[in-house]
């Protein structure tokens, strides 16, 4: 469904992505792991054109695009089929939870208000925040804000949701509620591409894992293979450094 080929991105002289390939099938939950500075967030942001990659191609829904030469119109069209969940939520601060969710429907997709509110309320219900419709982001906890952000992503019925470290800004006790929502989405067959540091999530929920370091993909495979039987030495090291539980058996 989504195929990235040879994506390349440099900030000045710093190469952040060095010809990375990526393939996501419908229903896949792909976790992108790696140490900070490995380029995983940049990869995600480039795929959604929040950063402009300077090389590579994107195949989405059977259509081909060049990262360098895609027009603004095509970017806008592609974005309407995808959704993005940010590390720091980025809820619209001047909108209530429900307005945050319906904004993309009424304004960007010209949906009638009543219909949008129906969808919005259902989306908020799904993330367990039906009673917080009229709250502003400043009145919600981090975990609640991130769940509103996920509801906002769901409301537009996207073909894929990109998650950029969705739990990294959260207090430890709030991480669980967000991961629970993501688990549920995964089990319902939502296609997800998730940059994360949550190893449990990557191991238990994702179908495939990509391990990046220094702007390249070091290892990619099913999560079972990746955690059970990693091939690359760097992957083994990474798993060892993040914790005993994930260390490959010798």
């Amino acid at each position: 469904m989504l195929k990235v080929k040879g994506i390349h991105k440099a900030f000045g002289t710093l190469e952040v992505l060095k010809n990375v390939d990526l393939d996501v099938e419908k229903g896949d939950v792909v976790a992108i792991l790696g140490p900070s500075g490995s380029g995983k967030t940049t990869l995600l942001r480039c795929i959604n054109f929040l950063e402009r990659a300077d090389g590579g191609t994107l195949e989405f829904d059977g259509e081909n695009f060049s990262f360098q030469h895609i027009s603004k119109k095509e970017i806008a069209r592609l974005r309407k089929k995808t959704a993005f969940v940010f590390q720091n939520y980025n809820l619209f601060l001047n909108k209530t939870a429900l307005q945050n969710v319906t904004e993309g429907l009424t304004v960007a997709r010209h949906m009638p208000k009543e219909q949008a509110q129906d969808i919005g309320k259902r989306a908020l219900e799904k993330v367990g925040l039906a009673d917080r419709c009229d709250y502003y982001p400043s009145q919600l906890s981090g975990g609640q804000q991130q769940r509103v952000a996920i509801a906002r992503a769901l409301a537009t019925d996207p073909e894929i949701i990109f998650f950029d470290e969705p739990t990294s800004a959260l207090d430890p006790e709030l991480i669980g509620e967000v991961l629970a929502v993501m688990r549920r989405l995964a089990s319902e067959g939502m296609t997800m591409l998730v940059v994360t540091h949550e190893m449990n999530f990557a191991r238990d929920v994702s179908s495939r894992v990509i391990f990046m370091e220094g702007g390249v993909i070091v290892e990619a495979g099913t999560s079972k293979e990746f955690f059970g039987n990693p091939k690359e030495e760097r992957t083994k090291n990474f798993l060892r450094t993040i914790g005993e539980r994930f260390a490959p058996e010798e």
Binding site: A83, L93, K95, G104
Partner: protein, 227 residues
């Protein structure tokens, strides 16, 4: 204080207040409204980085902020007639005050736009909104909230600066006072009186500013209601 003086002050209070209500306040409110429009457009042009227009806006702000308001009033009212352009005192004052305050307010609004976190824009794009939709519905409303205190200062400054319009024969509060002084020679008492009336007006404007701030701050309430 003599009884005569008290009678004079009481008598002149309305004579000064009336041009205040008929000239000072309308001049301030009309010019400030135009200034807000000019400022918003100028700030958006700079924020969106529109090439040639941006240079024009920078030039406009540079000239207006770098020259005295009184000189600007003289150029328009006493200078333009040399080119055959005659403008009545009141419209001339509105024109100059709008353009002058517009330049200052443009910088305020631009700074406020830049203070809105870039994530707001990105989130807007990601839900499928266009640049203009995001500006209108997300970024501008948030920026205006940040800008209100500074804009309120601008409004109060302008209220006081309208006294300069007496120099181009606009019959506003200061000129009305000057006329009474010329007749009675009670300069101290009368100029203090007009000062008090200015203070009255600026107090009302300050209260207005607070009310607007409070309204716009709705979404920034600290603490969680019923959480």
């Amino acid at each position: 204080m003599s009884e005569e003086l008290i009678a004079l002050l009481a008598d002149s209070f309305w004579k000064i207040l009336k041009p205040g209500l008929l000239a000072t306040i309308p001049l301030t409110l009309i010019a400030f409204s135009f200034a807000l429009v000019i400022a918003t457009v100028a700030a958006l042009i700079q924020f969106a980085n529109i090439k040639v227009l941006k240079q024009l806006v920078r030039f406009y702000i540079w000239v207006i902020r770098g020259t005295p308001l009184l000189v600007q009033l003289y150029v328009v009212f006493y200078g333009l007639p040399n080119l055959g352009i005659l403008i009545d005192p009141f419209p001339a004052a509105i024109l100059v005050f709008s353009i002058n305050e517009g330049a200052y307010a443009a910088e305020t609004v631009r700074a406020a736009l830049e203070a809105v976190p870039s994530g707001q824009m990105e989130a807007g794009y990601c839900v499928g909104m266009s640049y203009l939709q995001i500006m209108r519905r997300i970024v501008l409303p948030q920026a205006m909230r940040t800008a209100v205190p500074s804009l309120g200062n601008g409004l109060i400054s302008m209220l006081k600066d309208t006294s300069l319009a007496s120099n181009i024969t606009v019959l506003e509060m200061l000129m009305a006072t000057q006329r009474i002084v010329a007749r009675t020679y009670e300069a101290l008492a009368l100029y203090i009186e007009v000062g008090v009336i200015y203070l009255m007006f600026s107090t009302i404007f300050t209260m207005l500013q607070r009310a607007v701030e409070k309204r716009l701050n709705g979404y920034e309430r600290k603490g969680r209601a019923n959480a």
